[in-house]
Symmetry: C2
């Protein structure tokens, strides 16, 4: 990591928070947004980490993020709730939604919480894991604008809509419905290195490994990933009466709409039985699979979220590594707002 | 279809029902099971249709299906409910679970219903579509014994656990978490034709296209399908305190355990807004995607469940086609119980 900038988590969080605040976010929204980005860095997902600070700051400046938004519960009926994000920065809408999901699951043993109209949520795994840490099983989904082919379309027709599932006591699955992330495509475009086969289509809708010919991402597992992504749009955007896909495909100006809709589902595992026993059975499940004979070429069998959990422990102790060029871009934005970068570890 | 046996749906249903009843199922359980199998046949999924009658009849005879089971709600707390299937034939546990999910979603606007300990549920899409037909968005998942590799294991470590998602007004996604179905593997083994690449592993855990070398199925999209399958086991079996995977991997005798655990989640879309508008927006979503430019090699863009919906219309009118060999096997079982096969159409 000698060529990487390394910064401790807490100062990094404070740094991002201060930039967002100076850029125009209310203090509490700046804080939760910094928290979510640094969580992704700690988990080893830099694509959703502080390297997004310049992007978010730009959105605040352009008005794409509504700094006057005050996300609130606008509907509550039994175990269902709806939060209007009012165009707020994603984490400022999703953080109260997590609290509502936990409260609803505590009262009704199960919950569905829909969140309408927010900008980029960050890594949705953070919200699922917060619900799980409170003792509830969680499923989180989020719907975005078109950036992935549907099975059989030539260009972007659905999104890479992510799904995260988390359990009390461990296990966190956080996956997109595309074959590969947009981040990977961006890196390949920047370096000119060939793409892995199967992840992208050219402008005719043909598979390509040429990053410069790549026009859109492919769905994970063809019709399955495409179908799952479509159903997430239906479960969130269509249910909320705030369609993202149909509107963008009908009016191409909306293809760059950065608003999202999300869904958090939660279940009170302790209503079904002892939570301690649940955690024991979950650990036994992980152990049984991890101790299976390994296929050729595999040194370890990893549980969902295990790599990220290990990274979290290491980076919480040793600091967050950031590529120098990305760090410079964050510092440039900080300078614009008169914010001083934190000390680097070992620098 | 000249070499296929064709039977009208209603007599086919009555035929299967009578066999199940003579084999030992109570009348109501025989009826709902026949209903679920013929639904799959009508939708064009013969692997989950009446060709399973001999298998089910065998399970009834061997006691694997508990004919004394009377599935019932054993826990209800707010929007959460638990049904004990008592080892019943799958549709006899899942059918009342659908009713409970609808009732819970009606009362609490959202629901999570867990179903413990039933045998093969059939195509889980039928349960999701029933919830949707009642006006609620539905997600159904089911957990089975190991029959698919986990990402990095040499042999079977998780299952092909299916997920179905259905919407009021249309759209039904019904997918397994494996790259391909066990049915496809079985057909290839029978015919000796090479498998499509990527769907199976040999006994060393290496990819193989030789059906006779194939030992287990691969997960859809590698770690994503494996992770999703594992989380379904956690959301159902582990939450219910009735683990299937850990027990089977620890005690290999249980690798052939045919019990399942399931989860039905439902949301009252009409609590969020007008159901008519929801259906309009859903139709607009489908239309927008279907009218996108097609990739090379694609003649049509199909929505989740569209092919099955078309098959349902055609087969409800024209009858259900069944391969002669499978039909003979069903008739052989029927003869054992003195049940007369229905008339064939055009035969």
């Amino acid at each position: 990591m000698s060529d990487l900038v390394v910064v401790a988590a807490e100062p990094l969080r404070a740094f991002a928070r201060e930039i967002f605040q100076k850029a125009g976010l209310p203090e509490d929204q700046a804080a939760v947004t910094a928290e979510v980005l640094v969580w992704a860095d700690l988990r080893g997902h830099p694509s959703h980490g502080v390297i997004r600070v310049p992007l978010y700051a730009g959105w605040i400046g352009s008005g794409l993020i509504n700094t006057n938004a005050r996300p609130k519960v606008v509907l509550q009926k039994g175990a269902l709730a709806k939060i209007d994000g009012e165009g707020a920065v994603g984490p400022a809408a999703m953080t109260p939604a997590v609290d509502v999901a936990i409260a609803q699951a505590r009262e009704h043993a199960a919950a569905w919480v829909l969140v309408q109209d927010h900008t980029h949520a960050g890594a949705v795994g953070v919200y699922a894991s917060r619900v799980a840490e409170a003792g509830f099983a969680a499923i989180v989904m989020s719907a975005l604008r078109p950036m992935m082919a549907f099975h059989g379309t030539r260009g972007s027709a659905v999104s890479t809509n992510p799904v995260a599932i988390a359990m009390p006591g461990g296990l966190l699955l956080d996956m997109s419905t595309s074959s590969s992330s947009r981040g990977k495509l961006g890196v390949a475009k920047a370096t000119g290195k060939p793409l892995p086969p199967g992840i992208a289509l050219d402008k005719e809708g043909r598979p390509t490994t040429d990053p410069n010919a790549a026009e859109t991402l492919t769905p994970m597992a063809g019709p399955k990933g495409a179908g799952l992504s479509l159903m997430i749009e239906a479960l969130t955007s269509v249910a909320l009466g705030n369609p993202l896909i149909a509107t963008a495909l009908t009016d191409r100006k909306l293809m760059t709409n950065h608003r999202q809709n999300s869904l958090i589902m939660a279940m009170d595992v302790s209503a079904l039985g002892d939570l301690g026993l649940f955690k024991e059975n979950l650990a036994a499940l992980a152990k049984a699979i991890k101790s299976q004979p390994r296929a050729e070429g595999f040194e370890r069998i990893l549980m969902p979220g295990e790599r990220g959990g290990n990274a979290f422990v290491n980076r919480s102790r040793d600091g967050v590594p950031i590529p120098p060029r990305s760090w410079q871009q964050v510092c440039d934005v900080a300078a614009k707002f008169g914010v001083t970068p934190p000390e680097r570890i070992g620098a």
